[in-house]
Structures are given as structure tokens and as C-alpha cells.
């Protein structure tokens, strides 16, 4: 293969059918792969009548044209489905080895439909595709399952759910390669609803770039850029993603105690520096990645594993008012083992802490209680006690107790580690996120904090819509090819376009890709509109809109969303209700969606 393998594996667990169908290459060129192709296929397969946890929902696992090409960070893959947490379109992607290995089986995409009568697993090897009994694995943890199925670093790779997915926890993750996660939005619950415990892949096909000379040149140039960037060559390898903990805290944008404050007095104790000094065993890389940002850590009690990433350290740390690094790290490990999204878990626990402190729920739970983390996570996975509420995510939980305003979420997806009051553009990213409050779909950390590509005023609102839109579109490109966002901290979309051209032998310019990104973003928007979402869902929690930050570098600021939203719709060519105009859809090649979008 050169780029696309040209095949989709289509499995229906209701009738055990296994089909190989050709990939529509025109569709592939328009939507690239990964998240884009997932969105396009989901548009046709899952309409508004489908409940997320019903057999009619589908899981679409998709790689991109550069996957397994050996280009730097070409290991990632995507899952698309309808989210049981948000009811929006969902995409989530993950690194490690599984994506690369799946591509080596000779498929671009795996679609899983229906529901098995009893727990099953799928195995895709050179011997063929099999649906196997997995009743003996049901109830086992992620680590146990991964080991039982013979995970072998770059030869045989396991993706599975843990007890959280089996118990239809709405914040359950799908885990691959033991500790990597398709984390956000509850994909694990969708997999659980299908009685699908695991997917194991072994392949040997190669993604051999068409233009070898140009591909080698791009590898060389990309390596130069990754080396030249202090972020990718020094900061991330030395301190991991939590290297930004102190940076974000210093500017007053680190949400603390369920976003009641924007600076955490214990930030230094949970920072990248602290992780390196106190618990780091070694750093590790995903397949074909020179950055090595993964942390292998060991706590005082001897527990060892991957993490914590910045977001996880924040979620169980500042968000919960906890500065005990060991407790945070073990909470991260337990989430990995039970198959839970750490951002939503930590955010939801922080929400529960505030609900309890304010008397909405009868509990002695308080901010800062590090000793409660493990039991809360365990109870969430098994839906026991208060865990049954936590398993529903912060919005449903807070709503049940009469205080939905205490859920720090957008479209019911819990917000990550940046306070929009100190990063106005990030607020617009959250509010307009197609899968809800997500930093991965247009992160403003680069321009608003790290000066990538140039530093912009983080408190300004005029002109932010354009920058946010460009970052959303480029994130959609990266998620569709599929590259890693951290590579994009040093390497521009222009490079990705030239690498894609070398791999496929077809010419793609930077702007071809940016238009593809806009196409993906717009189709996701249309999907949500078809589901009944409106402009009223493009908002932020009341606290962020109306309660100014009380002290620190962001003192006095609220999230000034209204003018940015107005400018954003105009920039994107949408009407005042946030509906893409027909001419925009035609321009993007989304003609097929016009009728349904305006139904």
C-alpha cells in the first residue's frame, strides 16, 4: 500500500457477519482518514434516531494515509461513534502501537455494528478475521485482559475495555496497548454495549511511500524541526506533558477546585518537574516517535505504570484541590486499569466535591481528600454508591442534585485544564467544540501561552475567531492523517502536506489539507445540528461567563464569549444561528448533506 490500503473491514456482531468492502477513494481524498473518514462514514450509518448505547450505534476505528509509514508519530488512530455522554458526534484518538498494527493488517477502517449475545472479542491476523468467545475475559481489568491476550509491543496489539466499559459508564475509555486511551466521550461504554471486550491485531503489510526520495527528505527535515524545538526536543522528553503545569498556573489559567479559582497553590508539587524529580522511572515513546513524552512512573507504594499526563495530573490535582503526587498518579493508574477517561473522572470528582461542600449531596466528601480518590474511581467503574452518580458524568450528576451549573462542562463533556477566563480563545474552542469541551480540537495553548507560532494577547477577543477556526481545522487535519498534536508544536501542516504527497504520490498542498480540515469540522457541526443541537449549546458554564477571577494574573476577567461567537459564525460562513450556509457546504464538497441539514 501507498497511503490508503483501500479496504474497510465491516463486522456485524448481531449476526456474526464479516465483510471486506472497498474504500471509496474519492471519499478518502476528501476526508483523508482517521477522524475525517470516521465522521463521513458515521454521517451515513448513524442518524438521530439511534440511541448511543443501542445495537444500532456503530464503532468506526480508522487509521490515516500516513499511518504505519514510519513518518514521525505515524502511530495514531481514531474511533468515531455517537457519544453516550454528550449525544454528539464523538471522535477520540490514541497513540501507542495498535493503530500502526491494525493498518498492517491491510485495512484502513474497521466498522463494528450490532451487539453480540454474549461477550466476544475480534482477532485480525494473517490467518483471517475471527469473532471469538470472550466470556472468560468479561469482568477482567484492562491490564489483565491485555496480558491474557498476548500483547507484544510491535507484533501483536490489544485494544480492550475494562469494567467501566462493561458497566456502561458514560465516561469509560477504550484502552489500547495496556495504558493508551481513546479516552473522551464514553467510547468504552459503546464497546461495552456491544458485548465487545477486545480487538486484537497482528499484521505484516507495509505502508511503503510512493516517492521514497521525497519521503526520506521529509523525514530528515521533520527531524530537524523536532530537534530545533525546545518543546519537542527538551521540555516534553524531560518533563512530559505536565511541563506546562507551572506555566499555565503562573498566568492564572489553571482551573482549581472545580474552576472556583484559576491558580493552584500546590501546582509545583504536581508539575512536570515534580514528576521527573520524584516518581519518574523512565520516559517512553509511541511507535515511530522521537519525542518520548510518555512517563513511566513509580509511586512510594511500588505501583508502576504510565502517567500522569498534564491533564490527568490537573484533573486529580488542582481540580480536586489535591497536591499529593503519589495519590494522583495511582488514581491515573487505576483509571487506566478500569478503563476510564481521567479528565472526565477527575473533573467529575471535583464537581462532586463542590456539590458535597455546598450541601447538594449528603456526603463528607471535601476538596483535598486524596485518600478518597481510589475508592471513588473504583465505585464509578462498578457503579456502586456515589459511583453510580459519578458514572453518569458531571452534568447528569449535578443536574440530578439540582445544581447543573456546577458541572464544568460543555455539551456534557467535562472541561480540561485551562480556564477560559485566562485564555479567551480557549473558551471559544470549548464552546464551539463538536464533541464538547475539548482542548485537543484547536488548543489555544500554542498561540495564547507558548508563542506557537506567535504569541497573541490571551485576553483579547477581536480576531480570535479566525485563529480558533484555523487551529480547529488544522487539528482536524492532524486527527485525520493521523499525526500527533505534539509534533504539530514544531512541524506545520505544510510539512504534513508534503509528507502525505510523498507517501501517496499525489500532490497535496497545505491549503488542500486546511480545506479538508474545514470540511471535517463542518460535517461534524452538521451532524450535531441533525441531532438537534443549536447555537444555544455553543456556550460555557455560567461560572465562567459571569464570575470574574478573584485574584492573580487573570483577576477581574470572565469569559467574554458573545462577541467571539458572533465573529466565529461570520468567519466560518455560518448564519447567525450557527448553521453553515448552503454555498459554504457546496464550496467544501458537502452537497450530500445540504438536504438533511436544512430539513
Amino acid at each position: 500500500m501507498q497511503g490508503w490500503a483501500g479496504k474497510i473491514l465491516d463486522i456485524n456482531l448481531s449476526d456474526n457477519s464479516i465483510e471486506t468492502v472497498p474504500l471509496d477513494m474519492e471519499m478518502a481524498r476528501l476526508f483523508l482518514g482517521g477522524r475525517g473518514l470516521g465522521a463521513r462514514l458515521l454521517w451515513d450509518l448513524v442518524g438521530p434516531e439511534v440511541e448511543p448505547l443501542s445495537p444500532e450505534n456503530v464503532l468506526i476505528f480508522s487509521t490515516g494515509p500516513i499511518t504505519a509509514s514510519s513518518s514521525q508519530t505515524s502511530n495514531r488512530f481514531n474511533v468515531s461513534t455517537k457519544s453516550p455522554l454528550t449525544d454528539t458526534i464523538l471522535h477520540a484518538n490514541s497513540g501507542g502501537w495498535w493503530g500502526m498494527q491494525f493498518k498492517r493488517t491491510g485495512y484502513d477502517v474497521l466498522i463494528v455494528r450490532g451487539k453480540a449475545e454474549t461477550p466476544v472479542m475480534i482477532e485480525i491476523t494473517e490467518d483471517g478475521v475471527q469473532i471469538k468467545d470472550a466470556q472468560h475475559l468479561w469482568g477482567k481489568s484492562v491490564f489483565e485482559t491485555t496480558e491474557a491476550l498476548g500483547q507484544d509491543r510491535n507484533k501483536r496489539n490489544v485494544m480492550c475495555i475494562g469494567p467501566a466499559g462493561e458497566n456502561l459508564v458514560r465516561i469509560a475509555a477504550i484502552m489500547n496497548d495496556k495504558e493508551r486511551a481513546l479516552a473522551r466521550g464514553g467510547g468504552g461504554a459503546v464497546m461495552g454495549s456491544k458485548n465487545l471486550k477486545a480487538i486484537v491485531v497482528e499484521g505484516s503489510e507495509k505502508n511503503r511511500p510512493e516517492d521514497q526520495d521525497q519521503f526520506k527528505f521529509m523525514l530528515y527535515e521533520t527531524r530537524k524541526l523536532l530537534k530545533a524545538s525546545p518543546l519537542t526536543s527538551q521540555a516534553l522528553p524531560e518533563f512530559g506533558t505536565a511541563v506546562v503545569m507551572n506555566v499555565v498556573n503562573e498566568i492564572g489559567a489553571l482551573p482549581t477546585r472545580n474552576f472556583q479559582q484559576s491558580q493552584f497553590e500546590g501546582a509545583d508539587k504536581i508539575s512536570g518537574e515534580a514528576i521527573t524529580d520524584e516518581i519518574l522511572v523512565k520516559n517512553q515513546a509511541c511507535w515511530a516517535c522521537p519525542i518520548t513524552c510518555t512517563r513511566i512512573s513509580k509511586t512510594a507504594s511500588g505501583k508502576e505504570g504510565e502517567g500522569p499526563e498534564f491533564e490527568s495530573a490537573w484533573a486529580f490535582g488542582a481540580q480536586c484541590g489535591i497536591d499529593d503526587l503519589d495519590a494522583i498518579t495511582e488514581a491515573n493508574f487505576l483509571c487506566n486499569d478500569l478503563g476510564i477517561d481521567t479528565i472526565s473522572m477527575g473533573n467529575t470528582i471535583g464537581c462532586a466535591m463542590e456539590l458535597s461542600e455546598c450541601g447538594y449531596i449528603e456526603s463528607d466528601l471535601r476538596f483535598g481528600q486524596a485518600d478518597k480518590l481510589l475508592s471513588l474511581i473504583h465505585d464509578t467503574a462498578y457503579r456502586q454508591g456515589i459511583g453510580h452518580d459519578l458514572a453518569e458524568g458531571s452534568y447528569r450528576m449535578a443536574d440530578k442534585y439540582g445544581a447543573p451549573e456546577l458541572s464544568m462542562s460543555v455539551k456534557k463533556l467535562e472541561m480540561p485544564a485551562y480556564d477560559p477566563r485566562g485564555m479567551q480563545g480557549q473558551g471559544l474552542v470549548y464552546a464551539t467544540g463538536n464533541r464538547g469541551a475539548c482542548h485537543e480540537t484547536g488548543n489555544m495553548l500554542g498561540p495564547e501561552v507558548l508563542a506557537l507560532p506567535r504569541l497573541i494577547d490571551r485576553f483579547a477577543t477581536q480576531g480570535k475567531a479566525g485563529i480558533v477556526s484555523v487551529h480547529q481545522d488544522s487539528a482536524a487535519v492532524i486527527d485525520s492523517l493521523v499525526f500527533c498534536k505534539f509534533a504539530n508544536m514544531a512541524v506545520s501542516v505544510e510539512f504534513f502536506a508534503r509528507t502525505l504527497s510523498a507517501v501517496t504520490g499525489e500532490t497535496f498542498t497545505e491549503e488542500d489539507l486546511m480545506q479538508a480540515g474545514e470540511r471535517v469540522w463542518t460535517l461534524e457541526r452538521l451532524y450535531n445540528l441533525r441531532e438537534g443541537f443549536t447555537k444555544d449549546d455553543d456556550t460555557l458554564p455560567e461560572r465562567l461567563l459571569h464570575d470574574p477571577v478573584q485574584e492573580g494574573p487573570s483577576e477581574g476577567f470572565t469569559a467574554n464569549l458573545a462577541p467571539m461567537i458572533k465573529e466565529y459564525y461570520a468567519f466560518r460562513g455560518w448564519d447567525e444561528n450557527g448553521i453553515p450556509r448552503p454555498h459554504k457546504l457546496r464550496e467544501l464538497g458537502l452537497d450530500f448533506a445540504i438536504e438533511e441539514a436544512y430539513d
Binding site: 506567535r454 477581536q462 484555523v470 508534503r498 498542498t509 491549503e511 458572533k566 466565529y568 468567519f571 460562513g573
Partner: protein, 203 residues
């Protein structure tokens, strides 16, 4: 229409472009895209002495009365915004780059920084040198694959997410061009120090 922050950015970058000799007193122009509007320097305004009254707001797609006062190159700016994801454009007249453009179809940096930042700058010939639809089409098409392009004998167009970014490419281009010219004047053979440098021509 234009907030204090954006005005300050226009003013300081305009001044820097002039004082560093990247354009003459009244030549060149720059713009940003905000929502569905383009904010562009007024025709004939001095680059180094921009005032609030020196900016024109015009629509991104349709025509309006803003075009009466806007830069002659508005048609090019509009085409660039339509064809690319640019949020800011700088058009300047860097004299060494213009000199090189008279005798070559591309400018390939020989210095390390220029190679790292730009790799190659294409040179485009246009019959109608200013404000023509031919120019708009050719320049905007070239900018789909490059950050900055030269129009032979006229000047450069560069894009960015901010004015500062677009300005940075112009500044880099002129430094690249100065070094090429000075090395040529020196007349000594170049000792190649860059691996894969022959591939820059294919960039």
C-alpha cells in the same frame, strides 16, 4: 471597528516594515481578516506613520463602498483570503529580493536560518503588475503551498495567522536575499554544509 490591540499591531509593524527598508514611504500594504470582514491599509497611507483613519473595513466576499479607499491590491488580498487559511497578509517591496527576482524563477536560501524557515520562495511573473485579476489568481494560488511568494520586479506577498507572522516571513526573505547577493558579489565558490540541500529546489 478596530480595537486598540489590533491598531497597535498594525501601527508598530507598519513602522518596522518602513524603517527596516522593506518598502518605500507609501508602497506596499497589509491587512487582517476579522470574522467576515477584511481590515486593510488605506490606499496611499504612509507605512511608517499609520493612524486610525488609515484603515478601511470591507466585506470578505461582496463588494462595498470600502473599496473606494482601500489599497489598490485589495483584489489580491481578497483572493488570498478566499484561497488560503491566512488571517493576515503583508505586501512589501524588499529591494534585494526584488533584485534577485529579476533574474531567477525561485529564490533558494543558502544560509542556515533561511533554509530552515523558508526553503524556497517561488517567483511569479505577472503582466499587469498591480491590482489585476491575473495577479490575484496567480499569487493566491502560489500561496496555497508557500508562506511567501515573490512577484517578479514588484514585491512579495506573505501570509500568517497574525501580522507579526506575515512580517516575519518578509524580514526573513530579505535577509536570505541579502546573503545570496553578497555571496554572489564575493565571487567565491560555496562550500555546501546542508544535507539534502538539492531537495530544496523541489520544495
Amino acid at each position: 471597528m478596530i480595537d486598540e490591540r489590533l491598531y497597535e499591531e498594525f501601527r508598530t509593524i507598519g513602522r518596522d516594515i518602513f524603517v527596516t527598508g522593506l518598502t518605500s514611504s507609501h508602497g506596499g500594504n497589509m491587512s487582517v481578516r476579522v470574522g467576515d470582514k477584511i481590515i486593510i491599509k488605506r490606499r496611499g497611507a504612509q507605512f511608517g506613520r499609520l493612524k486610525r483613519s488609515d484603515f478601511v473595513e470591507t466585506s470578505f466576499e461582496g463588494k462595498d463602498s470600502g473599496i473606494v479607499r482601500a489599497s489598490t491590491e485589495l483584489i489580491v488580498h481578497r483572493a488570498i483570503y478566499e484561497q488560503t487559511s491566512a488571517l493576515a497578509i503583508v505586501h512589501a517591496h524588499p529591494r534585494t529580493a526584488i533584485t534577485l527576482s529579476l533574474s531567477r524563477d525561485e529564490i533558494i536560501p543558502i544560509d542556515n536560518e533561511g533554509s530552515y524557515l523558508l526553503r524556497k520562495i517561488p517567483v511569479i511573473s505577472v503582466e499587469m503588475a498591480s491590482g489585476s485579476s491575473e495577479m490575484a489568481t496567480k499569487i493566491s494560488e502560489a500561496l496555497r503551498g508557500y508562506k511567501i511568494v515573490m512577484q517578479r520586479g514588484h514585491g512579495c506577498f506573505s501570509t500568517g495567522q497574525t501580522l507579526e507572522e506575515a512580517y516575519a516571513w518578509v524580514s526573513a526573505l530579505e535577509e536570505v536575499s541579502d546573503i545570496i547577493l553578497e555571496h554572489k558579489l564575493l565571487g567565491e565558490p560555496m562550500i555546501e554544509y546542508r544535507k539534502h540541500s538539492d531537495a530544496y529546489a523541489r520544495w
